[in-house]
């Protein structure tokens, strides 16, 4: 196996993994704080992808620019969804939560089908098919930019939770629900805020993803599953964990595809998930419960 082939594949796995990580980040934030199983996560990213396509078609907005209004819109949407619909379900059993979010997911997917039809949509920007050449290594431009954005957003989020007042309050709610209530924090509002934040995250991920993948209405569920795998592997509530999990999955799938058979590479991710669940359920960077 020639070394530059392996190097190219690994690098690509890392870059793609970072974007996956960004998507999972939103889920980690939501799941880690609000403890709701958001099985509509992938669908939300799909909507963000469509939004980016529409903005590009109408205003020629580059996804890196469109990212801002789309994320803002999703923040509002997430906030409203949590406050209005999901909130009563926090204390309900998992299967109820699952059913609720599943119903929302079904409505989202088929609403998109109704609105956009089944064809794949995409946008074409100049740098999409270009790559940087570093000797024998070819670096996909779009993937590189997306990876940098993922890192930037994660850093921003990390700083938010560490230094901002609201961020610290949210962490308090996550760590100790009762204690937070006792201290007088309006937990409901912080939950909604968190959901909004997680949604904004997944929106940014969607804006990046549309550069790499065409969007169809049925795209969501596979990404939801991927996001969960990454979050579990990386560690719940850990931002670094989400990124690390993403990179790990990205690289392991690439390696599996290279050395074993490509059609079975998803098996690898699931195998990894099973192993992590068994031997280190808090994830690689998560705190022990």
């Amino acid at each position: 196996m020639p070394i530059d082939l392996v190097a190219n594949v690994v690098l690509s796995g890392v870059l793609t993994g970072l974007v996956y990580g960004l998507m999972a980040l939103g889920l980690s934030v939501i799941f880690g704080v609000v403890r709701v199983v958001n099985f509509a996560h992938g669908e939300m990213m799909t909507i963000a992808m469509y939004a980016t396509v529409v903005l590009f078609a109408a205003f020629k907005l580059d996804p890196f620019v469109a990212m801002v209004p789309v994320a803002a819109a999703f923040f509002v949407f997430g906030y409203a969804l949590q406050a209005a619909v999901i909130n009563p379900f926090i204390t309900r059993p998992e299967h109820s939560q699952f059913m609720l979010v599943l119903a929302i997911a079904i409505i989202m997917v088929n609403g998109l089908l109704m609105a956009f039809g089944p064809d794949a949509r995409n946008l074409q920007v100049d740098y999409q098919l270009e790559s940087f050449a570093l000797g024998p290594i070819l670096v996909d431009k779009a993937r590189l930019y997306a990876a940098f954005t993922a890192l930037a957003v994660s850093a921003g989020l990390f700083a938010f939770f560490k230094f901002a007042r609201i961020g610290k309050a949210i962490r308090a709610c996550a760590d100790n629900y009762l204690g937070a209530r006792v201290v007088g924090l309006d937990v409901k509002r912080y939950y909604a805020f968190t959901f909004g934040l997680g949604s904004a995250c997944v929106a940014v991920a969607g804006c990046m993803m549309i550069l790499l993948v065409d969007v169809t209405p049925a795209l969501g569920p596979a990404y939801t599953l991927l996001a969960f795998v990454i979050v579990i592997v990386g560690g719940l509530g850990s931002m670094g964990g989400a990124l690390l999990g993403g990179v790990l999955i990205g690289v392991s799938e690439a390696m599996a595809g290279l050395f074993i058979t490509p059609s079975a590479k998803s098996m690898f991710s699931f195998g990894l998930l099973i192993l992590v669940l068994l031997f280190r359920p808090q994830g690689l960077l998560g705190k022990k419960a």
Binding site: V9, S12, G13, A120, S131, A218, A222, L258, S266
Partner: protein, 410 residues
């Protein structure tokens, strides 16, 4: 009105009156009810809707050409085998005399069973799994090549391409989707290719990939590293697009992309999404006969019904779906009755000459297994943004281009 009340009764778990089968006693029945089952929603929605275009224009053209009245009863299989099965039952219940469908081999197999068990003829428009016509069914007919036939024709056409362009590629990498269709094609290639002595190339590597994969970096890297002369590809639409983009990103320009038979490369979405990158891809697949009279008639109707669509992008889907309904109508005309046994017998005796069929091939005749042999593939190349028939020479609309202009030796 009756149907809705019927459903409410069903909901109360009450009585449901059986609908008596359509009267056989009538001397010359007025029309043939054709139940059309296609995936109009779900993952295969795009292709299903494309096939539906071929179905929708059929009654008008058939009335004009055959003088027979056909009533369509269209149902959505929702890209789901269970739904396909219950919809088929439903259509039969509502009086369908013949079923046509359903593009996907899994759904088609489910419908075929229902049809066989109920003794209602089922004409398969598109489905390549060989087993469907190996079950000993008496009521299931297929006017579409099996994966093995597709492969054989596709590989033979490759030889013609190389001869026509005076090229001798020595190596290829074979990439294929790892689903029902892709696997069947791969098996066919594995069985047939070694026995052919008129093809100059060796397959350096076979790479199977997940049709749902969103990232084909690894697969393309592997293929590029093997340094083949050209890429042999069995794909579906979305992965074909991802693959082509990845090839551009990795700056891999082989002599060309040739498919022995699969969807994807000639579809509208492929050209729309890739623009100039879509040019020169060749797909050896079943197609419509650009020179037949039936094609002219259907083409005119298609343009009228779908002013914004280009028939070329829907060649296979419209051609074969239309022909399936046309076969039913032709049998009906000869049988002069809607009795299912009579219809099945009439279908078995079908002998439609080349000029009167839209799909490309010899005369339509069913062998004892209910399979039509002699459906031909054509080398369809994307030229100037349109899928164009380049081979066989007698049907060609343009000359085949191979190797692609971007290819640089060495």
């Amino acid at each position: 009105m009756k149907r809705r009340q019927f459903n409410r009764a069903l909901a109360a778990a009450g009585v449901a009156a059986g609908l008596a089968p359509f009267g056989i006693a009538r001397a010359q029945p007025q029309k043939l009810k054709v139940g059309v089952l296609l995936p109009r929603s779900g993952v295969q929605a795009l292709i299903g809707q494309s096939c539906q275009k071929g179905a929708d224009l059929a009654p008008a053209v058939i009335r004009q050409v055959l003088g027979v009245d056909v009533e369509l009863m269209s149902a959505d299989t929702e890209s789901n085998a269970d739904t396909a099965r219950t919809r088929a039952e439903r259509l039969i219940q509502e009086g369908a005399n013949v079923l046509v469908g359903a593009f996907d081999s899994g759904h088609t197999a489910a419908i075929a069973q229902v049809a066989e068990q109920r003794g209602i003829p089922h004409i398969i428009n598109i489905a390549a799994a060989p087993q469907i016509t190996e079950q000993g069914y008496k009521f299931v007919f297929r006017n579409f090549p099996t994966a093995i036939d597709l492969t054989r024709n596709g590989l033979a056409l490759m030889g013609e391409i190389f001869r026509a362009t005076n090229t001798v590629p020595r190596s290829a990498v074979f990439m294929h989707v790892n689903d029902t269709f892709g696997q069947a094609m791969a098996k066919g290639v594995g069985a047939i290719l070694p026995r052919l002595d008129f093809l100059p190339f060796k397959v350096l590597d076979t790479i199977a990939y997940d049709p749902a994969a969103k990232d084909l970096t690894v697969e393309v890297s592997k293929a590029k590293a093997a340094n083949p002369d050209f890429l042999m590809l069995v794909c579906r639409l979305n992965d074909a697009i991802i693959l082509r983009r990845e090839m551009a990103k990795q700056r891999w320009n082989p002599m060309g992309i040739i498919s022995p038979g699969s969807p994807g490369l000639y579809e509208e979405q492929y050209t729309k999404a890739l623009g100039p990158l879509a040019e020169y891809a060749i797909c050896n697949t079943v197609w419509f006969n650009p020179k037949s009279e039936m094609t002219r008639n259907v083409g005119a109707a298609f343009r009228k019904n779908n002013p914004r669509d280009v028939l070329d992008f829907h060649g296979t889907n419209v051609g074969y779906t239309y022909d399936a309904i046309m076969i039913a109508a032709d049998a009906f005309k000869r049988a002069r009755s809607t009795d299912p046994k009579a219809l099945a017998e009439a279908i078995r005796q079908t002998n439609i000459p080349v000029a009167n069929r839209m799909s490309l091939g010899g005369p339509i005749r069913f062998n004892p297994k209910g399979q039509v042999e002699g459906n031909l593939s054509a080398a369809i190349q994307n030229l100037k943004g349109r899928p164009t028939v380049t081979l066989p020479a007698e049907f060609a609309e343009a000359k085949v281009v191979f190797p692609e202009p971007a290819y640089k030796k060495g």
